[in-house]
Symmetry: C2
Subunit: 290 residues, 2 copies
DNA sequence: CTGAAAGCGCTTACAG
DNA sequence: CTGAAAGCGCTTACAG
């Protein structure tokens, strides 16, 4: 007891680095996010953290800052830090780096990768289904000229586009009308909104894009939702802040984080086979779709 | 070379934990944030990261999740992880834990602490000056009945209230009228907006509070800014998303992050005396103040 | 210049 | 039950 008191008095703290070296485990889970400023990512990480507590694990976060190289470097760095498991909330990491990492510790990717990495588990949201659900909602409200506006050619956006195309095809509505804001956004928006055959509804690949469409419409005096219905994707905070509030597709981010942690735990318990889970999104109807 | 090739082929990676043990340094800076979902915190951390790169340091992030105990525990954990320096983007850590940490590695707190911790450097924004600047702006626009609405009694909010009180006093405007949303927000807003002596302008302790005031006003048919000017604080993304867009007080978050990293670097170079820096905010005038 | 030894701060298995 | 030794995977200082 006197020894312990003396240690406390001197401010002694056990060196976790040395402990990790001998125990071969750090009790650390690494979480890498494309962009922490994006609330979607911080919510997923919140879910990971809450679940990690139950396993006696701490979550250290690496911030990718929307830079693919930085994200891939974090994968390497986390393995060097000897994390016991790694959750990559990003589709931007190099598959080869992920496969290498998976040889050292269990790895779960949250997001739709361009290609699978060996021995890496994954969680994706059903983007095809979510986008189709949004389009069906617009069709139910009587819309027949529905455009898809996208700012990305990442796999998630492509899957949403596919869901859009599928749903307009099955409803015998318009021919698919896809507008990309990637190059000249102002011009693309002008072509979309100033033409004679203006759509009556727009599905956007995410909330940010949806808000850009809404702003462009309001600038032209086009009323939302009366003259143009707009639906976003991701249900970020901005969806309930803008006026009119934005109808959007929601994903259970907290739940996704918990699941990612649970999948790591299964690996700790000995699972050897890959596991790939698809999560179902849900439509949140607000003002922008009438 | 053949040995290196073989190591590569086997996927060998140097064990950073072992290296850290012998070198006595991890090349890691810990960054702890109250709430990563808050863009203010993720911007500061972005600034830290950009500056850390130049020093060959990596930034690991601990997420406080708005839980004071969790934040304090992260301070302990980061020291156990042997970070070379620690930046706490939060005012919620226990001063005693910070002082203990500072005995092991340089520590910089970004935020206004209720009390100073020994050997801990700090960066605060001039909240008194920022709030006074906002009030003077409203006075210039002719307002004489200006209220301060706050949702917090944390030191930053208190300093902003002080700045408000100082500025209304010097302008010979109204007597200070402070409204707290801490207990019964709906009732407090009703008292503020439904009374006969309704203010013509409101300064809020932050943007979230400002948006709540704006929404409450719009619900009552009170036009912003014509019948009620509203000014926020922090210049979060939501300030430019709401309609009317929000006049607010901006802090150079990226710059604050860089400075925090620079202050750590000074400690690495041998600085022994405490350093406390105050950053000047700036007013961003938008639609909500007319 | 090369190679083996000592040691970073712990935990664990073992001898006393 | 207590105490000393071995060893985790590296780096560094030193002997050859």
């Amino acid at each position: 007891m006197r020894i312990i008191d003396a240690a406390d008095a001197l401010g002694y703290r056990s060196n976790a680095v040395a402990r990790a070296l001998v125990q071969g485990r750090t009790a650390l889970v690494g979480a890498i996010a494309t962009d922490l400023a994006n609330p979607y990512h911080s919510e997923v990480i919140g879910g990971i953290e809450r679940a990690a507590g139950a396993h006696g694990l701490e979550v250290v976060i690496g911030h990718g800052q929307r830079d693919p190289r930085r994200i891939t470097r974090w994968v390497d760095r986390m393995i060097e830090l000897n994390v016991d498991g790694l959750i990559v909330v990003s589709s931007w990491a190099e598959p080869s780096a992920l496969a290498l990492a998976a040889a050292a510790a269990p790895v779960v990717v949250v997001g739709r990768m361009p290609q699978q990495a060996r021995d890496v588990d994954s969680i994706v949201s059903d983007d095809v289904g979510g986008a189709a659900m949004a389009v069906r909602h617009l069709i139910e409200r009587g819309h027949r000229r529905i455009a898809f506006v996208t700012s990305s050619d990442r796999p998630a956006a492509m899957a949403r586009q596919l869901g859009y195309e599928t749903a307009v095809a099955e409803a015998d509505a318009n021919v698919p009308h896809v507008v990309s804001l990637a190059d000249d956004a102002a011009r693309a928006l002008a072509a979309l909104l100033d033409g004679r055959e203006r759509p009556t509804a727009v599905l956007a690949n995410n909330d940010v894009t949806a808000v850009r469409v809404m702003d462009a419409a309001l600038d032209r005096g086009i009323r939302v939702p009366d003259q143009l219905a707009v639906v976003g994707y991701d249900n970020t905070v901005m969806a309930s802040l803008v006026r009119p509030t934005l109808t959007t597709v929601d994903q259970p981010n907290d739940e996704i984080g918990r699941l990612a942690m649970a999948m790591l735990a299964e690996r700790f318990e000995g699972r050897r086979v890959e596991r790939h889970v698809t999560i179902s999104p849900a439509l949140v109807v607000r003002g922008s779709s009438g």
